[in-house]
Amino acid sequence: MTESTGSTTELHERPREASRDPVISVRDLKVRYGERTVLDGVSLDIYRGETMVILGGSGSGKTTLLRHMEGLQRPTEGRVTVKGVDLATASRTTLTALRRSMGVSFQSAAMFNSMTVGDNVALPLLEHSSLAESTIRVMVRIKLQQVGLTHVEDLYPTQLSGGMRKRASLARALALDPEILFFDEPSAGLDPVIAAGLDDLILHLKSAYPITIVVVTHELTSAFLIADRMCMINEGKILAVGTVDEIRRNPDPRVQQFVRREADEPSEASSSYIVGA
Protein backbone atom coordinates (compact mmCIF):
# COMPACT_ATOMS: atom_id res chain seq x y z
CA MET A 1 0.00 0.00 0.00
CA THR A 2 2.84 2.31 0.90
CA GLU A 3 4.59 2.26 -2.44
CA SER A 4 3.34 1.82 -5.93
CA THR A 5 5.10 -0.66 -8.14
CA GLY A 6 7.27 -0.14 -11.18
CA SER A 7 5.88 0.84 -14.53
CA THR A 8 6.55 -1.06 -17.73
CA THR A 9 10.21 -0.37 -18.27
CA GLU A 10 11.44 1.52 -15.26
CA LEU A 11 12.22 -0.60 -12.26
CA HIS A 12 10.96 0.47 -8.94
CA GLU A 13 13.28 -0.31 -6.09
CA ARG A 14 12.11 -0.19 -2.56
CA PRO A 15 14.35 1.76 -0.16
CA ARG A 16 15.38 -1.16 2.01
CA GLU A 17 16.52 -3.10 -1.04
CA ALA A 18 18.43 -0.28 -2.64
CA SER A 19 21.45 -1.01 -0.50
CA ARG A 20 21.49 -4.70 -1.49
CA ASP A 21 23.30 -5.93 -4.55
CA PRO A 22 21.07 -7.71 -7.02
CA VAL A 23 22.28 -11.23 -7.81
CA ILE A 24 20.43 -11.16 -11.13
CA SER A 25 19.93 -7.93 -12.98
CA VAL A 26 18.03 -7.53 -16.24
CA ARG A 27 18.12 -4.19 -18.05
CA ASP A 28 16.03 -3.21 -21.08
CA LEU A 29 15.96 -6.75 -22.41
CA LYS A 30 14.35 -6.95 -25.83
CA VAL A 31 13.78 -10.26 -27.60
CA ARG A 32 12.28 -10.72 -31.04
CA TYR A 33 11.54 -13.92 -32.92
CA GLY A 34 11.26 -12.72 -36.48
CA GLU A 35 8.42 -10.20 -36.55
CA ARG A 36 7.11 -11.11 -33.11
CA THR A 37 8.34 -9.17 -30.08
CA VAL A 38 8.46 -11.51 -27.10
CA LEU A 39 10.14 -9.24 -24.55
CA ASP A 40 9.89 -5.49 -24.96
CA GLY A 41 12.31 -3.66 -22.71
CA VAL A 42 12.18 -5.71 -19.52
CA SER A 43 14.12 -4.57 -16.45
CA LEU A 44 14.16 -6.56 -13.24
CA ASP A 45 16.41 -7.00 -10.21
CA ILE A 46 16.47 -10.13 -8.10
CA TYR A 47 18.22 -9.91 -4.75
CA ARG A 48 20.21 -12.54 -2.92
CA GLY A 49 18.15 -14.89 -0.81
CA GLU A 50 14.72 -13.85 -2.03
CA THR A 51 12.11 -15.89 -3.84
CA MET A 52 10.96 -14.05 -6.93
CA VAL A 53 7.90 -15.32 -8.74
CA ILE A 54 7.46 -14.24 -12.34
CA LEU A 55 3.78 -14.39 -13.05
CA GLY A 56 2.08 -14.16 -16.40
CA GLY A 57 -0.29 -15.85 -18.81
CA SER A 58 0.85 -18.18 -21.55
CA GLY A 59 2.75 -16.37 -24.28
CA SER A 60 3.53 -13.44 -21.98
CA GLY A 61 7.27 -13.99 -22.40
CA LYS A 62 7.96 -15.24 -18.89
CA THR A 63 9.72 -18.43 -19.96
CA THR A 64 11.85 -16.46 -22.43
CA LEU A 65 12.85 -14.11 -19.60
CA LEU A 66 13.78 -17.11 -17.45
CA ARG A 67 15.85 -18.69 -20.24
CA HIS A 68 17.83 -15.46 -20.52
CA MET A 69 18.54 -15.43 -16.80
CA GLU A 70 19.65 -19.08 -16.98
CA GLY A 71 22.02 -18.19 -19.79
CA LEU A 72 20.34 -20.62 -22.18
CA GLN A 73 19.61 -17.75 -24.55
CA ARG A 74 22.06 -14.95 -25.10
CA PRO A 75 20.62 -11.45 -24.94
CA THR A 76 20.89 -9.60 -28.26
CA GLU A 77 19.44 -6.31 -27.01
CA GLY A 78 19.66 -5.16 -23.43
CA ARG A 79 21.74 -6.61 -20.62
CA VAL A 80 21.46 -9.57 -18.31
CA THR A 81 24.00 -9.92 -15.51
CA VAL A 82 24.10 -12.80 -13.07
CA LYS A 83 26.47 -12.47 -10.10
CA GLY A 84 28.08 -9.57 -11.94
CA VAL A 85 28.75 -11.55 -15.14
CA ASP A 86 27.33 -10.07 -18.32
CA LEU A 87 25.74 -13.03 -20.08
CA ALA A 88 25.90 -11.46 -23.55
CA THR A 89 29.68 -11.23 -23.57
CA ALA A 90 30.63 -14.04 -21.17
CA SER A 91 33.02 -16.60 -22.60
CA ARG A 92 32.06 -20.27 -22.70
CA THR A 93 34.36 -20.94 -19.73
CA THR A 94 32.91 -18.13 -17.61
CA LEU A 95 29.40 -19.25 -18.42
CA THR A 96 30.25 -22.83 -17.47
CA ALA A 97 31.68 -21.69 -14.13
CA LEU A 98 28.62 -19.54 -13.50
CA ARG A 99 26.25 -22.37 -14.28
CA ARG A 100 27.76 -24.54 -11.59
CA SER A 101 26.21 -22.17 -9.06
CA MET A 102 22.79 -22.44 -10.69
CA GLY A 103 20.20 -25.17 -10.53
CA VAL A 104 17.41 -25.42 -13.08
CA SER A 105 14.20 -27.40 -12.82
CA PHE A 106 12.55 -27.60 -16.22
CA GLN A 107 8.88 -27.54 -17.06
CA SER A 108 9.08 -31.02 -18.57
CA ALA A 109 11.48 -32.21 -15.82
CA ALA A 110 14.01 -32.96 -18.61
CA MET A 111 15.40 -36.08 -16.94
CA PHE A 112 17.81 -38.10 -19.09
CA ASN A 113 15.68 -41.06 -20.04
CA SER A 114 18.64 -43.25 -20.88
CA MET A 115 19.92 -43.08 -17.29
CA THR A 116 18.46 -44.19 -13.97
CA VAL A 117 17.14 -41.55 -11.59
CA GLY A 118 20.19 -42.06 -9.37
CA ASP A 119 22.58 -41.53 -12.29
CA ASN A 120 20.65 -38.43 -13.31
CA VAL A 121 21.16 -36.86 -9.90
CA ALA A 122 24.75 -38.09 -9.72
CA LEU A 123 25.71 -36.65 -13.10
CA PRO A 124 26.52 -33.05 -12.03
CA LEU A 125 28.45 -34.39 -9.05
CA LEU A 126 30.42 -36.87 -11.16
CA GLU A 127 31.24 -34.21 -13.72
CA HIS A 128 31.98 -31.23 -11.50
CA SER A 129 33.23 -32.57 -8.18
CA SER A 130 36.17 -34.72 -7.20
CA LEU A 131 34.20 -36.66 -4.59
CA ALA A 132 34.62 -40.42 -4.36
CA GLU A 133 31.94 -42.39 -6.13
CA SER A 134 30.71 -43.95 -2.89
CA THR A 135 30.29 -40.48 -1.37
CA ILE A 136 28.36 -39.38 -4.43
CA ARG A 137 25.99 -42.34 -4.06
CA VAL A 138 25.26 -41.28 -0.48
CA MET A 139 24.76 -37.67 -1.55
CA VAL A 140 22.36 -38.76 -4.27
CA ARG A 141 20.28 -40.59 -1.67
CA ILE A 142 20.28 -37.51 0.57
CA LYS A 143 19.27 -35.18 -2.27
CA LEU A 144 16.44 -37.51 -3.25
CA GLN A 145 15.29 -37.71 0.37
CA GLN A 146 15.27 -33.92 0.54
CA VAL A 147 12.65 -33.84 -2.19
CA GLY A 148 10.70 -36.67 -0.60
CA LEU A 149 11.79 -39.55 -2.80
CA THR A 150 13.14 -42.85 -1.50
CA HIS A 151 14.05 -46.10 -3.24
CA VAL A 152 13.92 -44.62 -6.72
CA GLU A 153 17.64 -44.52 -7.52
CA ASP A 154 17.51 -47.61 -9.70
CA LEU A 155 14.31 -46.74 -11.53
CA TYR A 156 14.26 -45.04 -14.91
CA PRO A 157 12.56 -41.63 -15.23
CA THR A 158 9.82 -43.12 -17.40
CA GLN A 159 8.85 -45.39 -14.52
CA LEU A 160 8.06 -42.39 -12.30
CA SER A 161 4.84 -40.37 -12.16
CA GLY A 162 4.83 -36.74 -13.35
CA GLY A 163 5.10 -35.34 -9.83
CA MET A 164 7.90 -37.71 -8.87
CA ARG A 165 9.81 -36.81 -12.03
CA LYS A 166 9.53 -33.12 -11.15
CA ARG A 167 10.85 -33.85 -7.67
CA ALA A 168 13.69 -35.94 -9.07
CA SER A 169 14.63 -33.15 -11.45
CA LEU A 170 14.63 -30.80 -8.48
CA ALA A 171 16.98 -33.16 -6.65
CA ARG A 172 19.27 -33.03 -9.69
CA ALA A 173 19.09 -29.23 -9.74
CA LEU A 174 20.04 -29.18 -6.05
CA ALA A 175 22.92 -31.64 -6.48
CA LEU A 176 25.67 -29.01 -6.55
CA ASP A 177 24.09 -26.91 -3.76
CA PRO A 178 23.28 -24.01 -6.09
CA GLU A 179 23.11 -20.38 -5.00
CA ILE A 180 20.33 -19.68 -7.48
CA LEU A 181 17.51 -22.07 -8.26
CA PHE A 182 15.31 -21.61 -11.31
CA PHE A 183 11.89 -23.19 -11.59
CA ASP A 184 9.93 -23.27 -14.82
CA GLU A 185 6.25 -23.93 -14.10
CA PRO A 186 6.69 -26.23 -11.09
CA SER A 187 3.03 -27.22 -11.09
CA ALA A 188 2.41 -27.56 -14.85
CA GLY A 189 0.64 -30.78 -15.72
CA LEU A 190 0.27 -31.90 -12.09
CA ASP A 191 -2.90 -32.40 -10.09
CA PRO A 192 -3.59 -29.80 -7.37
CA VAL A 193 -2.58 -32.05 -4.48
CA ILE A 194 0.80 -32.88 -5.97
CA ALA A 195 1.26 -29.25 -7.04
CA ALA A 196 0.62 -28.16 -3.45
CA GLY A 197 3.21 -30.70 -2.35
CA LEU A 198 5.76 -29.06 -4.63
CA ASP A 199 4.88 -25.63 -3.18
CA ASP A 200 5.56 -27.03 0.29
CA LEU A 201 8.87 -28.32 -0.97
CA ILE A 202 9.87 -24.89 -2.28
CA LEU A 203 8.85 -23.30 1.04
CA HIS A 204 10.95 -25.89 2.83
CA LEU A 205 13.96 -25.12 0.63
CA LYS A 206 13.49 -21.40 1.30
CA SER A 207 13.59 -21.90 5.04
CA ALA A 208 16.38 -24.46 5.02
CA TYR A 209 18.92 -22.82 2.69
CA PRO A 210 20.07 -19.26 1.95
CA ILE A 211 19.11 -19.75 -1.67
CA THR A 212 17.81 -17.35 -4.31
CA ILE A 213 14.79 -18.87 -6.02
CA VAL A 214 13.25 -17.70 -9.29
CA VAL A 215 9.93 -19.30 -10.18
CA VAL A 216 8.00 -18.83 -13.38
CA THR A 217 4.34 -19.74 -13.14
CA HIS A 218 0.81 -18.84 -14.13
CA GLU A 219 -0.65 -20.39 -10.98
CA LEU A 220 -1.79 -17.56 -8.70
CA THR A 221 -2.35 -19.75 -5.65
CA SER A 222 1.13 -21.13 -5.74
CA ALA A 223 2.65 -17.73 -6.62
CA PHE A 224 1.11 -15.92 -3.64
CA LEU A 225 2.12 -18.75 -1.34
CA ILE A 226 5.81 -19.03 -2.15
CA ALA A 227 6.81 -15.52 -3.26
CA ASP A 228 8.78 -12.91 -1.34
CA ARG A 229 8.40 -10.59 -4.28
CA MET A 230 6.50 -10.98 -7.50
CA CYS A 231 6.82 -9.65 -10.98
CA MET A 232 3.83 -9.61 -13.27
CA ILE A 233 4.54 -9.76 -16.97
CA ASN A 234 2.13 -9.29 -19.83
CA GLU A 235 2.79 -9.18 -23.58
CA GLY A 236 6.52 -8.86 -23.05
CA LYS A 237 6.32 -5.96 -20.62
CA ILE A 238 6.53 -5.86 -16.87
CA LEU A 239 3.26 -4.61 -15.38
CA ALA A 240 4.24 -4.59 -11.74
CA VAL A 241 6.99 -5.63 -9.36
CA GLY A 242 6.57 -5.82 -5.62
CA THR A 243 5.81 -7.84 -2.54
CA VAL A 244 2.79 -10.10 -2.44
CA ASP A 245 0.76 -7.40 -0.68
CA GLU A 246 1.81 -4.73 -3.11
CA ILE A 247 0.81 -6.82 -6.07
CA ARG A 248 -2.54 -7.63 -4.55
CA ARG A 249 -3.24 -3.94 -3.96
CA ASN A 250 -1.78 -2.73 -7.23
CA PRO A 251 -4.20 -0.31 -8.86
CA ASP A 252 -3.23 -1.27 -12.42
CA PRO A 253 -6.45 -2.64 -13.96
CA ARG A 254 -4.56 -5.31 -15.90
CA VAL A 255 -2.93 -6.59 -12.71
CA GLN A 256 -6.27 -6.60 -10.97
CA GLN A 257 -7.84 -8.30 -13.95
CA PHE A 258 -5.24 -11.06 -13.81
CA VAL A 259 -5.67 -11.50 -10.06
CA ARG A 260 -9.47 -11.38 -10.28
CA ARG A 261 -9.72 -13.61 -13.31
CA GLU A 262 -8.02 -16.38 -11.41
CA ALA A 263 -10.08 -15.64 -8.33
CA ASP A 264 -13.27 -15.74 -10.37
CA GLU A 265 -12.70 -19.38 -11.13
CA PRO A 266 -14.92 -21.95 -9.41
CA SER A 267 -12.23 -22.96 -6.94
CA GLU A 268 -13.56 -21.06 -3.91
CA ALA A 269 -10.98 -22.56 -1.63
CA SER A 270 -8.07 -21.10 -3.55
CA SER A 271 -9.62 -17.64 -3.93
CA SER A 272 -10.49 -17.33 -0.28
CA TYR A 273 -6.98 -18.51 0.48
CA ILE A 274 -5.48 -15.68 -1.55
CA VAL A 275 -7.59 -13.10 0.24
CA GLY A 276 -6.81 -14.55 3.62
CA ALA A 277 -3.11 -15.18 3.05
Partner: protein
Protein backbone atom coordinates in the same frame (compact mmCIF):
# COMPACT_ATOMS: atom_id res chain seq x y z
CA UNK B 1 14.25 -10.25 -59.11
CA UNK B 2 12.32 -13.10 -57.48
CA UNK B 3 14.82 -15.58 -58.89
CA UNK B 4 17.78 -13.55 -57.66
CA UNK B 5 16.19 -13.29 -54.26
CA UNK B 6 15.63 -17.02 -53.92
CA UNK B 7 19.13 -17.82 -55.20
CA UNK B 8 20.53 -15.41 -52.62
CA UNK B 9 18.45 -16.85 -49.82
CA UNK B 10 19.45 -20.39 -50.78
CA UNK B 11 23.14 -19.46 -50.85
CA UNK B 12 22.90 -17.75 -47.48
CA UNK B 13 21.21 -20.80 -45.97
CA UNK B 14 23.89 -23.11 -47.32
CA UNK B 15 26.65 -20.81 -46.11
CA UNK B 16 25.05 -20.73 -42.66
CA UNK B 17 24.79 -24.53 -42.64
CA UNK B 18 28.45 -24.97 -43.57
CA UNK B 19 29.43 -22.39 -40.97
CA UNK B 20 27.49 -24.20 -38.25
CA UNK B 21 29.00 -27.50 -39.29
CA UNK B 22 32.50 -25.98 -39.16
CA UNK B 23 32.00 -24.49 -35.68
CA UNK B 24 30.57 -27.75 -34.41
CA UNK B 25 33.49 -29.65 -35.95
CA UNK B 26 35.99 -27.35 -34.26
CA UNK B 27 34.39 -27.75 -30.83
CA UNK B 28 34.08 -31.47 -31.45
CA UNK B 29 37.84 -31.69 -31.96
CA UNK B 30 38.57 -29.53 -28.92
CA UNK B 31 36.39 -31.60 -26.63
CA UNK B 32 37.66 -34.88 -28.09
CA UNK B 33 40.98 -34.28 -26.39
CA UNK B 34 39.22 -34.34 -23.03
CA UNK B 35 37.78 -37.79 -23.65
CA UNK B 36 41.11 -39.42 -22.84
CA UNK B 37 40.63 -42.57 -20.74
CA UNK B 38 43.31 -41.32 -18.36
CA UNK B 39 41.55 -38.06 -17.54
CA UNK B 40 38.95 -37.49 -14.85
CA UNK B 41 36.79 -40.46 -14.03
CA UNK B 42 36.92 -41.88 -17.53
CA UNK B 43 33.19 -41.27 -17.89
CA UNK B 44 33.57 -40.03 -21.44
CA UNK B 45 35.62 -43.05 -22.32
CA UNK B 46 32.92 -45.36 -20.97
CA UNK B 47 30.28 -43.59 -23.03
CA UNK B 48 32.53 -43.88 -26.08
CA UNK B 49 32.90 -47.63 -25.57
CA UNK B 50 29.13 -48.02 -25.34
CA UNK B 51 28.71 -46.07 -28.58
CA UNK B 52 31.33 -48.28 -30.24
CA UNK B 53 29.15 -51.29 -29.56
CA UNK B 54 26.13 -49.48 -30.97
CA UNK B 55 27.77 -48.11 -34.08
CA UNK B 56 30.24 -50.86 -34.82
CA UNK B 57 29.48 -54.30 -33.53
CA UNK B 58 25.75 -54.29 -34.25
CA UNK B 59 26.23 -53.01 -37.81
CA UNK B 60 28.56 -55.85 -38.68
CA UNK B 61 26.14 -58.62 -39.81
CA UNK B 62 24.11 -56.44 -42.16
CA UNK B 63 27.23 -54.74 -43.48
CA UNK B 64 28.88 -58.08 -44.30
CA UNK B 65 25.79 -59.14 -46.23
CA UNK B 66 25.57 -55.86 -48.16
CA UNK B 67 29.30 -55.70 -48.94
CA UNK B 68 29.38 -59.41 -49.85
CA UNK B 69 26.47 -58.97 -52.24
CA UNK B 70 28.17 -55.91 -53.75
CA UNK B 71 31.40 -57.86 -54.32
CA UNK B 72 29.48 -60.69 -55.92
CA UNK B 73 27.45 -58.38 -58.16
CA UNK B 74 30.62 -56.67 -59.33
CA UNK B 75 32.29 -60.00 -60.11
CA UNK B 76 29.22 -61.19 -62.03
CA UNK B 77 28.86 -57.99 -64.04
CA UNK B 78 32.56 -57.78 -64.85
CA UNK B 79 32.69 -61.50 -65.61
CA UNK B 80 29.91 -61.17 -68.20
CA UNK B 81 31.99 -58.67 -70.18
CA UNK B 82 35.48 -60.00 -69.51
CA UNK B 83 34.50 -63.50 -70.61
CA UNK B 84 34.15 -62.27 -74.20
CA UNK B 85 37.78 -61.14 -74.20
CA UNK B 86 39.05 -64.16 -72.32
CA UNK B 87 40.31 -61.87 -69.59
CA UNK B 88 38.53 -63.45 -66.66
CA UNK B 89 41.70 -63.23 -64.57
CA UNK B 90 41.20 -59.46 -64.40
CA UNK B 91 38.24 -60.04 -62.09
CA UNK B 92 40.63 -60.53 -59.19
CA UNK B 93 42.18 -57.11 -59.77
CA UNK B 94 38.84 -55.42 -60.34
CA UNK B 95 37.10 -56.75 -57.27
CA UNK B 96 40.17 -56.29 -55.07
CA UNK B 97 41.00 -52.71 -55.98
CA UNK B 98 37.45 -51.41 -56.36
CA UNK B 99 36.32 -52.87 -53.06
CA UNK B 100 39.38 -51.57 -51.21
CA UNK B 101 39.48 -48.09 -52.65
CA UNK B 102 35.86 -47.36 -53.31
CA UNK B 103 32.99 -49.66 -52.55
CA UNK B 104 34.19 -50.98 -49.20
CA UNK B 105 34.24 -47.60 -47.46
CA UNK B 106 31.15 -46.42 -49.34
CA UNK B 107 29.03 -49.46 -48.44
CA UNK B 108 30.17 -49.24 -44.81
CA UNK B 109 29.23 -45.55 -44.73
CA UNK B 110 25.82 -46.14 -46.28
CA UNK B 111 24.95 -48.96 -43.88
CA UNK B 112 26.13 -46.85 -40.92
CA UNK B 113 24.11 -43.84 -42.13
CA UNK B 114 21.02 -46.01 -42.29
CA UNK B 115 21.59 -47.64 -38.94
CA UNK B 116 23.43 -45.07 -36.82
CA UNK B 117 23.09 -41.73 -38.59
CA UNK B 118 19.31 -41.86 -38.36
CA UNK B 119 19.47 -43.13 -34.77
CA UNK B 120 21.89 -40.38 -33.74
CA UNK B 121 19.79 -37.57 -35.18
CA UNK B 122 16.59 -39.02 -33.71
CA UNK B 123 18.22 -39.34 -30.30
CA UNK B 124 19.72 -35.84 -30.30
CA UNK B 125 16.53 -34.27 -31.70
CA UNK B 126 14.45 -35.98 -29.02
CA UNK B 127 16.84 -34.70 -26.37
CA UNK B 128 16.44 -31.19 -27.80
CA UNK B 129 12.64 -31.41 -27.87
CA UNK B 130 12.37 -32.73 -24.30
CA UNK B 131 14.69 -29.98 -22.96
CA UNK B 132 17.39 -32.54 -22.12
CA UNK B 133 20.00 -30.56 -24.05
CA UNK B 134 19.02 -27.42 -22.12
CA UNK B 135 19.29 -29.43 -18.91
CA UNK B 136 22.85 -30.39 -19.90
CA UNK B 137 23.74 -26.76 -20.61
CA UNK B 138 22.19 -25.70 -17.34
CA UNK B 139 24.36 -28.30 -15.60
CA UNK B 140 27.42 -26.68 -17.16
CA UNK B 141 27.87 -29.63 -19.54
CA UNK B 142 28.29 -28.82 -23.21
CA UNK B 143 26.06 -31.02 -25.41
CA UNK B 144 28.90 -31.23 -27.93
CA UNK B 145 31.17 -32.56 -25.21
CA UNK B 146 28.59 -34.85 -23.64
CA UNK B 147 26.54 -36.06 -26.60
CA UNK B 148 28.54 -35.55 -29.79
CA UNK B 149 32.10 -36.42 -28.77
CA UNK B 150 31.48 -40.01 -27.57
CA UNK B 151 29.65 -40.73 -30.83
CA UNK B 152 32.35 -39.02 -32.87
CA UNK B 153 35.23 -40.89 -31.28
CA UNK B 154 33.35 -44.17 -31.53
CA UNK B 155 32.71 -43.49 -35.22
CA UNK B 156 36.35 -42.56 -35.89
CA UNK B 157 37.43 -45.93 -34.55
CA UNK B 158 34.59 -48.09 -35.77
CA UNK B 159 33.99 -46.92 -39.34
CA UNK B 160 37.55 -47.80 -40.47
CA UNK B 161 37.15 -51.18 -38.73
CA UNK B 162 33.81 -51.72 -40.45
CA UNK B 163 35.40 -50.67 -43.72
CA UNK B 164 38.05 -53.38 -43.34
CA UNK B 165 35.32 -55.95 -42.74
CA UNK B 166 33.31 -54.58 -45.64
CA UNK B 167 36.29 -54.81 -48.00
CA UNK B 168 37.05 -58.30 -46.80
CA UNK B 169 33.47 -59.53 -47.30
CA UNK B 170 33.36 -58.05 -50.80
CA UNK B 171 36.65 -59.64 -51.78
CA UNK B 172 35.60 -62.95 -50.25
CA UNK B 173 32.36 -62.92 -52.26
CA UNK B 174 34.43 -62.26 -55.40
CA UNK B 175 36.50 -65.29 -54.38
CA UNK B 176 33.43 -67.49 -54.35
CA UNK B 177 32.69 -66.40 -57.90
CA UNK B 178 36.32 -66.97 -58.90
CA UNK B 179 36.20 -70.48 -57.43
CA UNK B 180 33.32 -71.50 -59.68
CA UNK B 181 34.12 -69.44 -62.78
CA UNK B 182 37.92 -69.60 -62.82
CA UNK B 183 38.62 -72.79 -60.87
CA UNK B 184 40.77 -70.65 -58.62
CA UNK B 185 41.07 -71.91 -55.04
CA UNK B 186 40.21 -69.41 -52.35
CA UNK B 187 43.77 -69.39 -51.07
CA UNK B 188 45.19 -68.69 -54.53
CA UNK B 189 42.58 -65.97 -55.06
CA UNK B 190 43.40 -64.29 -51.78
CA UNK B 191 47.14 -64.42 -52.28
CA UNK B 192 46.78 -62.95 -55.75
CA UNK B 193 44.58 -60.18 -54.35
CA UNK B 194 47.23 -59.50 -51.71
CA UNK B 195 49.87 -59.21 -54.46
CA UNK B 196 47.79 -56.76 -56.44
CA UNK B 197 46.77 -54.43 -53.62
CA UNK B 198 49.08 -51.49 -53.02
CA UNK B 199 49.50 -49.58 -49.81
CA UNK B 200 47.87 -46.57 -51.43
CA UNK B 201 44.69 -48.56 -52.13
CA UNK B 202 44.37 -49.55 -48.49
CA UNK B 203 45.31 -46.13 -47.10
CA UNK B 204 42.96 -44.27 -49.41
CA UNK B 205 40.09 -46.55 -48.35
CA UNK B 206 40.78 -45.95 -44.67
CA UNK B 207 41.24 -42.19 -45.10
CA UNK B 208 37.85 -42.13 -46.77
CA UNK B 209 36.35 -44.05 -43.87
CA UNK B 210 37.62 -41.45 -41.39
CA UNK B 211 36.23 -38.59 -43.49
CA UNK B 212 32.87 -40.34 -44.00
CA UNK B 213 32.62 -41.04 -40.27
CA UNK B 214 33.18 -37.38 -39.44
CA UNK B 215 30.51 -36.35 -41.93
CA UNK B 216 27.95 -38.84 -40.63
CA UNK B 217 28.28 -37.90 -36.95
CA UNK B 218 28.48 -34.14 -37.44
CA UNK B 219 25.64 -33.92 -39.96
CA UNK B 220 23.38 -36.18 -37.88
CA UNK B 221 24.11 -34.34 -34.65
CA UNK B 222 23.66 -30.92 -36.25
CA UNK B 223 20.25 -31.98 -37.57
CA UNK B 224 19.36 -33.05 -34.04
CA UNK B 225 20.71 -29.93 -32.34
CA UNK B 226 18.84 -27.59 -34.69
CA UNK B 227 15.49 -29.42 -34.59
CA UNK B 228 12.40 -27.27 -34.42
CA UNK B 229 8.71 -27.99 -34.20
CA UNK B 230 8.41 -30.66 -31.52
CA UNK B 231 7.93 -34.37 -32.22
CA UNK B 232 7.17 -33.79 -35.91
CA UNK B 233 10.52 -32.03 -36.17
CA UNK B 234 12.26 -35.17 -34.92
CA UNK B 235 11.02 -37.08 -37.96
CA UNK B 236 12.13 -34.30 -40.30
CA UNK B 237 15.55 -34.09 -38.75
CA UNK B 238 16.05 -37.85 -39.10
CA UNK B 239 15.13 -37.75 -42.78
CA UNK B 240 17.34 -34.72 -43.34
CA UNK B 241 20.24 -36.35 -41.54
CA UNK B 242 20.10 -39.44 -43.78
CA UNK B 243 19.65 -37.51 -47.03
CA UNK B 244 22.33 -34.92 -46.27
CA UNK B 245 24.77 -37.54 -44.98
CA UNK B 246 24.44 -39.68 -48.10
CA UNK B 247 24.82 -36.66 -50.36
CA UNK B 248 27.85 -35.30 -48.51
CA UNK B 249 29.49 -38.72 -48.22
CA UNK B 250 29.20 -39.32 -51.97
CA UNK B 251 30.46 -35.78 -52.64
CA UNK B 252 33.40 -36.30 -50.30
CA UNK B 253 34.09 -39.63 -51.99
CA UNK B 254 34.28 -37.90 -55.35
CA UNK B 255 36.67 -35.27 -54.00
CA UNK B 256 38.86 -37.87 -52.30
CA UNK B 257 39.02 -40.07 -55.38
CA UNK B 258 39.92 -37.05 -57.52
CA UNK B 259 42.59 -36.08 -55.04
CA UNK B 260 44.13 -39.54 -54.98
CA UNK B 261 43.88 -39.80 -58.77
CA UNK B 262 45.97 -36.68 -59.30
CA UNK B 263 48.25 -36.55 -56.29
CA UNK B 264 49.06 -40.11 -55.36
CA UNK B 265 49.47 -42.49 -58.24
Amino acid sequence: MMLLESVGRFSLRQAEYIGRLAIQFWYGLRFSVRASPFKGRGLRWQRTLRQMGDIGVRSLPVLCLVAGATGMIMALQAGAELRRFGAMEAIVTMVGTTMTRELGPLMAAIVVIGRSGSAISAEVATMAVTEELDALRAMALDPIDFVLVPKYLAMLVMLPCLTVMSVFSGILAGGVFAYFALDLTLLAYLSRTAEILLMRDIVSGLVKAVIFGSIIVHVSCLEGFTVSGGPVGVGHSTTNAVVKSIFLVVLADLLCTTFFYFFWR
